[in-house]
């Protein structure tokens, strides 16, 4: 795999596009402790791919192997077409990737501008420092010492250090942990702008809303292995499952008098659980129009990503506890 020849920019010699990241049966152990077990996935160029999972699931270990920071125990891995463990190409590789670590790590005595300028010098084609300052919203703080910044501002500077090298591929390891809601939104917007500019993003997170807001595709890591993968809208059969139709009961109407089976719930509302939402909505709205019944607050709710995630992870945990792990074999994603 590592000997495959390069062709024109972005292609192998045989004309096939080089994926940004390719992982096949990756495993990592520390003595008897398994950190990653038989993980496979691919990240295509230009997409935002999320690794979702609880603490200790193996997300950071996987990312650190892809960055070339940690050595793997087994499997095959390529980042931008090269083996990240190959020390002969690590300097080249690191000019093309950007990394935002899970924990803040910035020298406290430098000014914001100094630390960005220092790191810009490591790369052959860095972004201008002023442009990065603007992107991360720290132009006004450019000459402040890092230690004077708030936690959120330091986090944004950390992201700035990740993008200063103008990377093809960004690794973002829980980039919004510790940020307030507005800081999270600003970081999301920055990631969207990077992705819109063609940067491939591999993101780890345990926030469902982050996955829904940013990711083109997601893989759920639990118990050191991938238990499901797909788009945020379809993972775990989310696009095929039941929906909940909810509305306020019209004046003088009971759930028994509705044209479809429904359940009463708090606040004078009714809920209908169905897998055939088109027909049910047709019957319900036809009845409302015909009888002049207003359906205030009418909404159709699909099962949340969080519900899917909890179902997947609890299912995997139950199978493991029973000692008969009958989970489907690890899937090749991509």
């Amino acid at each position: 795999m590592s000997s495959r020849a390069f062709g024109p920019p972005g292609l192998w010699a045989d004309g096939v596009a080089v994926p940004a990241v390719s992982v096949e049966h990756l495993s990592k152990s520390y003595g008897d402790t398994v950190a990653v077990r038989d993980v496979s996935f691919e990240v295509h160029k230009g997409e935002v791919f999320a690794l979702l999972g609880p603490n200790g699931a193996g997300k950071t270990t996987t990312v650190e192997i892809l960055e070339g920071f940690r050595e793997r125990s087994g499997g095959r891995v390529q980042t931008l077409g090269v083996d990240p463990a190959d020390t002969s190409t690590q300097r080249w590789l690191r000019t093309r990737i950007g990394v935002v670590l899970q924990e803040l790590a910035i020298e406290p005595y430098y000014s914001v501008r100094q630390v960005l300028t220092r790191n810009a010098g490591y790369y052959p084609h860095p972004r201008p420092v002023e442009e990065v300052l603007e992107l991360i919203g720290l132009t006004d703080k450019a000459d402040d010492r890092v230690k004077r910044l708030s936690g959120g501002q330091q986090r944004r500077l950390d992201v700035g250090l990740g993008i200063i090298g103008n990377p093809e591929l960004m690794f973002l390891d829980e980039p919004t942990t510790g940020l307030d809601p507005s800081g999270r939104r600003e970081t999301w917007e920055l990631i969207r702008r990077l992705a819109a500019g063609g940067t491939t993003v591999l993101l780890t997170t345990h926030y469902m809303d982050e996955v829904e807001a940013l990711a083109d595709r997601v893989a759920v890591l639990f118990g050191q292995e991938i238990v499901a993968s797909g788009t945020p809208a379809s993972i775990g059969g989310r696009d095929l499952g039941a929906v909940t139709i909810r509305f306020r009961l019209p004046e003088g109407v009971t759930v028994e008098s509705l044209p479809v089976p429904a359940e009463p719930c708090e606040g004078g509302h009714a809920e209908i659980h169905t897998e055939d939402e088109v027909r049910v909505l047709h019957d319900l709205t036809g009845w409302a129009l015909e009888g002049g019944h207003p359906l205030h607050g009418l909404s159709v709710l699909r099962i949340s990503l969080e519900d899917i995630y909890l179902g997947l992870t609890q299912g995997a945990a139950s199978r493991r506890a029973e000692g008969s792990d009958t989970a489907p074999p690890p899937q090749r994603v991509g």
Partner: protein, 266 residues
């Protein structure tokens, strides 16, 4: 955003890397001087000791020492300056950088390891040299202490001492488990050995203490430099250089075996 191209192999790009090393040294120096309290304490410690010792006992003699204390303390504190910068402060700094995740971040940048370590060494060598020059100037113009008489040997011992104590500093940083323990562990080892090796009070040659501390490099760096100031017949620097260099090799060995870019948080 750049586009993929054929990977370039190797982490050394020849002369084109020299400006990058110089640039990194510049940022290492900037980092040191941006913390003025730490910088002044690091640089000023040996000067304060010189003033304290020589203001009271410059012309005093000890019956087992063939020179007066002025001619002893100035080269001894030159040695102290090298050891403090290249071993004590460097080791504490390296532990803090590792535990703060700063080493990990640099590891993930395109800065090659050799370039980082070279810049760190040159940075602490500059700081050590600043101390050496200030101690020599204070000794010469403040207390009329003359030397070194053998400049070549003096410079050779300084350079070997800087290399070896830097290697030992990096080596000991790899066995310190966390940032809180760095100061106590490194400084305890350092100041005990410095005291026992005769920095503050000269030790009689041939005594049990001299024999014991003769196994460690600190006494050899002190005595090697004292000899270059005093031109005592029959002295040779080679035994001192050998002991210092062997400890440096041990430092390199420990560093290579135990080096870790990640925080230990032990």
């Amino acid at each position: 955003m750049t586009t993929s191209e054929t990977p370039v192999k190797g982490s050394f790009r020849g002369l084109s890397d020299v400006p990058l090393v110089a640039r990194q040294v510049g940022f290492e120096q900037l980092s040191f001087w941006l913390n003025p309290v730490g910088a002044v304490l690091t640089i000023g410690f040996s000067l304060v000791f010189i003033v304290i010792f020589l203001s009271t006992s410059r012309h005093s003699t000890v019956n087992y020492l063939p020179v007066n204390l002025g001619q002893y303390y100035v080269p001894a504190f030159v040695a102290y300056g090298v050891m403090a910068a290249c071993f004590n402060i460097l080791a504490i700094t390296m532990v803090n950088r590792r535990e703060l995740g700063l080493l990990k971040r640099l590891r993930l940048s395109p800065l090659p390891t050799w370039m980082l370590l070279t810049a760190i060494f040159v940075n602490w060598m500059i700081i050590a040299l600043i101390q050496v020059v200030l101690v020599l100037l204070l000794g010469r113009f403040g207390y009329a202490v003359h030397g070194p008489h053998d400049v070549g040997t003096f410079l050779l011992i300084l350079i070997v001492g800087m290399f070896s104590f830097t290697a030992m500093g990096v080596g000991i940083s790899t066995v310190v488990p966390n940032a809180d323990a760095a100061g106590p562990i490194v400084s305890l080892v350092f100041f005990i050995l410095v005291a026992l090796s005769g920095l503050y009070f000269p030790i009689r040659a041939g005594s049990g203490l001299a024999t014991f501390t003769g196994f460690f490099p600190i006494r050899h760096l002190i005595l090697g430099l004292v000899d270059t100031f005093n031109g005592i017949p029959g002295t040779s620097p080679w035994n001192d250089l050998l002991v210092i260099a062997l400890w440096g090799v041990a430092g390199v060995f420990v560093s290579l075996r135990r080096w870790d870019w990640s925080p230990k948080r032990g």
